[in-house]
Assembly symmetry: C2
Homo-oligomer: 112 residues x 2
């Protein structure tokens, strides 16, 4: 009966991943926690969401990868490419436009 856990979250993982990687390169496992921490535990996307997303973004040319072994564990660092930067800018603009429009409808005094 209650809305599904993913209500309002369509597209959000991609938006946040690109946003965080805009600051600095990170690896998947790190991103999962970074999103949770940056949102004060309000946003949590599991690895099953992040890893496939990273693969898609890399395949689309939005991210580049760099492999590195640290303490015997292998990490795959992702960085935003110029294409990815454009993608983030477009996504971000889309996000602002939509949330603005929705706020307009929600806050309108009355709908005659």
């Amino acid at each position: 009966m209650p809305p599904t856990p993913s209500t309002f979250l369509n597209g959000v993982p991609e938006l946040l991943v690109l946003r965080l990687l805009r600051d600095r390169e990170m690896y998947g496992y790190e991103l999962v926690q970074a999103i949770r921490e940056a949102s004060a535990d309000q946003l949590t996307f599991a690895e099953g969401v992040i890893y496939p997303l990273l693969h898609t973004l890399e395949r689309d040319g939005a991210l580049s990868t760099r492999r590195q072994t640290i303490n015997g564990r292998s990490r795959v660092y992702y960085a935003v490419t110029p294409t990815g930067r454009e993608r983030f800018d477009a996504l971000s603009a889309h996000w602002r436009a939509l949330t603005g429009a929705i706020a307009t409808v929600l806050e309108a005094p009355r709908h005659a």
Copy 2:
């Protein structure tokens, strides 16, 4: 390659339908245009989205219906029930919490 047209829109039709019906009862066809107009054409949900949604909300007890024939055409008016009102309040709160959290991540100066 660009994000799908429905990016960021998961759950939004339900939120807006309940919001508009909170003001006054409306029928499906009317809601389709009301959403478009209330958002200055920035938000458009076709009948294929709205009608099934109305049926689901009615089945869940969030909406009640009233049939009326006007000018030979049959209309189905929908009104928010107390259950629907609660649902809207919950959805609305969820919306504000998520958009707030996302804004926090987006606008953070830097993610160390």
